[in-house]
């Protein structure tokens, strides 16, 4: 493994097959001749194998971490693809600007946020990250450089947003930040005990709350489907919130076994649900958006075998029934998800051909890897999702079958013509059938 052992995915500590790596440091550099297939690699926060390239070469983009320009009037930021969201917040929150969309960790690169078209708690208002990308430059393995926007090279723009780093390397991007008054958030939390109740809370909060998300107890769903906590919030005006202390100790090494046994997860879930909490609170944005960033390397809690993340989206008319069934199956299997998250997406058309977020309700779990029983459960969840016309999130997947991917992402055949022929990932090898790749060769 040598010097490339640091290139892992987030959920699966076992190393992939041998893969090389090159680091780009400047926008005027080219990809090395030969040495492919390549895959763009950001900060390695994809959970499964979409950021891995066994037998190929990762193009590490963390060296491209420069800002290029910022317009203090409009909030338009141009920066290199390896800039972390935390760098952007650190620089611009004090000036009154915030990310238009942010996932649950700020430790991702701008390029990664585009390639996975990440979403946040404000999807019902703002859509996904790709909706706020105005322009980017794509470097292809043939040395060409494409400026892409909704008007220039629009096909490449649509293919690259959510394109899993397979269309080439994003060198820089232009995104529009949004105005905030300060770092404080006004947050409300409400208990619910049934899926319908959650959906009702989401509907009722849609117009008045920019951010909504729910946490559910996946071990003890209760009689009516799902017990959990619903959080809704807005950026606060004029409030000051103390910033959390930086860098708490994380796990320096990966323990051989999971530190999250079933019983502990059960106790934790019950405690969180039962714990008396204030309904209204003013909080700093960091714990609200990034609770897990406070524990660096939290992924190591799952031990050497790692874990599986599972996230699916279910169309709204099927949501009540399908989500209820998924939660019941998970509870019955007693696989013990530590943090299970539920959120209703808004109705904006996804900006990328392979974007995950789409109108519907999304549900996410993390399961310690217990081998076959875990995989069997995940297959069952795939079937329920597929039956309901939903899709599974590639950024979090390490095992879905080609059929499930094809059904959730019908644009993949069109996408295949835009994939850089010298680019490949372990994920893509796994989820594309022979037919698709044949089609690309003929195109």
């Amino acid at each position: 493994m040598g010097r490339n052992s640091r290139y892992r995915s987030w959920a699966r500590p076992p190393a992939p097959g041998p893969q090389g790596a090159v680091r780009l440091h400047w926008r005027d550099e080219q990809l090395p001749e030969g040495g492919g297939p390549f895959l763009a690699y950001g900060n390695g926060r994809s959970y499964g194998d979409s950021c891995l390239n066994s037998g190929g070469t990762l193009v590490d983009l963390r060296g491209l971490d420069r800002f290029i320009s910022f317009d203090a009037e409009t909030g338009v930021l141009r920066c290199e693809a390896g800039v972390l969201l935390s760098d952007i917040l650190g620089r611009f929150v004090p000036e009154g600007w915030f990310l238009p969309v942010t996932p649950g960790t700020q430790q991702v690169t701008v390029g990664g946020a585009i390639a996975n078209d990440v979403h946040g708690k404000n999807h019902h208002w703002a859509g996904s990250f790709g909706h706020h990308v105005r322009r980017f430059e794509l470097l292809r393995s043939d040395g060409s450089r494409l400026l892409c926007s909704p008007r220039e090279n629009a096909d490449w723009f649509g293919a690259t947003i959510g394109g899993l780093g397979l269309t080439g390397v994003i060198l820089w991007a232009e995104i529009a930040l949004k105005r905030i008054e300060g770092p404080a958030m006004e947050v409300e939390s409400l208990r619910f005990s049934r899926v319908e109740e959650f959906l009702e809370l989401s509907r009722a909060s849609h117009n008045a709350y920019e951010y909504t998300v729910a946490w559910i107890d996946s071990l003890t769903p209760g009689p009516g489907g799902a017990r959990g906590l619903f959080f809704r919030g807005n950026h606060a005006a004029g409030h000051h919130a103390a910033a959390p202390s930086r860098r708490k100790p994380g796990l320096p090494v990966t323990p051989p076994v999971s530190l999250l046994p079933r019983a502990a997860v059960g106790l934790f879930n019950t405690a969180v649900y039962r714990w008396p909490r204030r309904r209204h609170a003013v909080a700093h944005y960091e714990p609200f958006f990034y609770p897990l960033d406070a524990v660096p390397n939290w992924n190591r809690l799952f031990g050497r075998k790692g874990f599986y993340q599972y996230q699916c989206v279910i169309p709204q008319d099927q949501a009540g029934a399908a989500i209820g069934e998924i939660i019941a199956r998970v509870a019955r299997a007693q696989e013990g998800s530590f943090l299970s998250v539920l959120k209703v997406f808004g109705n904006r058309k996804p900006p990328g051909w392979l974007s995950f977020s789409r109108p519907g309700t999304t549900l996410a779990f993390d399961f310690p890897d217990r081998g076959r029983s875990t995989l069997a459960l995940l297959d069952t969840l795939d079937e329920i999702t597929d039956e309901a016309g939903g899709a599974v999130y590639p950024a979090k997947d390490a095992r879905m079958k080609a059929r499930i991917f094809e059904r959730g992402y019908p644009a993949l055949h069109r996408f295949e013509r835009y994939r850089d022929p010298a680019f490949m990932s372990d994920f893509w090898r796994r989820v594309t059938s022979g037919d698709t790749q044949q089609g690309a060769a003929n195109a």
């Binding site: 010097r3 400047w26 005027d28 060296g63 420069r66 800002f67 290029i68 320009s69």
Partner: protein, 245 residues
């Protein structure tokens, strides 16, 4: 607000250090060899809060241009509070052993150009009677080793030069900081296997920035290198010459 001149501004160590000056809103003048990269570094530092007084493309081996570039920098900055000299190349020791020409060229880039720059720079700063000169040398300067003594010799020449310069400029109120980094994960060392002793440029930059602001004379970055190099220096020559370092 400090007025900071950085030579070799696109080196990973210099760029990371410059960001710390930018965070403070300092005024910077940047010098580097390649125009597009110099511009990329300058744009980044400007967005991060620096005031960019100017940029100039310079190949440090063009000794004739040193005076003009330094005067331009001094003029644009309105005086120099800190001058960080951070350019350099990492010679291929094997190729140098087979080529006197290449060896001399590497000594030229890593020692002669620096000494020439420092001569002019110390003249400017001695006249003003204030400021600090900080120069990136290397732990390799501490003892010649078969694996990279061309680089080590060049850095040792600069290091000794700085020792004398420090004594001379002390009387004029100008400080001199010698920075001896260990193994740093940068484009310069892209081809090396990285182990436990390796540091990231951001870590190294914090210590450099702190040392400059606090007027340190000689610093190892990270500091544990002080003890590693002490052990290497103390090794008897009889033993040392038979080793494979």
């Amino acid at each position: 607000m400090r007025r900071v001149l950085i030579i070799g501004a696109t080196s990973a160590i210099a760029e990371a250090t410059a960001r710390l000056f930018a965070d403070d809103g300092d005024r910077l003048f940047l010098v580097a060899r390649r125009k597009a990269r110099l511009q990329a570094a300058a744009d980044d530092l400007a967005v991060r809060g620096a005031e960019i007084a100017g940029c100039e493309v310079l190949d440090v081996n063009e000794l004739d241009r040193h005076r003009a570039v330094l005067e331009q920098a001094e003029h644009a900055l309105g005086g120099i509070d800190v001058a960080l000299v951070a350019h350099g190349t990492l010679p291929d020791q094997q190729l140098c052993q087979a080529s006197a020409r290449l060896t001399v060229q590497e000594i030229q880039t890593n020692a002669v150009s620096t000494v020439a720059l420092l001569t002019r720079l110390s003249e400017l700063m001695e006249r003003k009677g204030a400021g600090r000169i900080a120069v990136v040398t290397s732990v390799a300067a501490d003892r010649g080793r078969q694996s990279n003594y061309v680089y080590g010799a060049a850095k040792a020449a600069v290091d000794t030069f700085l020792e004398g310069l420090r004594q001379r400029l002390y009387k004029a109120g100008v400080g001199v900081t010698t920075i001896r980094p260990g193994f740093v994960d940068t484009p310069m060392t892209a081809g090396f296997e990285k182990g436990l002793l390796w540091s990231q440029p951001e870590t190294v930059a914090k210590r450099i920035h702190h040392s400059i602001l606090n007027g340190k004379d000689v610093v190892y970055v990270p500091s544990f290198w002080r003890w590693i190099m002490l052990a290497i220096r103390l090794m008897p020559r009889r033993v040392f010459k038979a080793m494979k370092l």
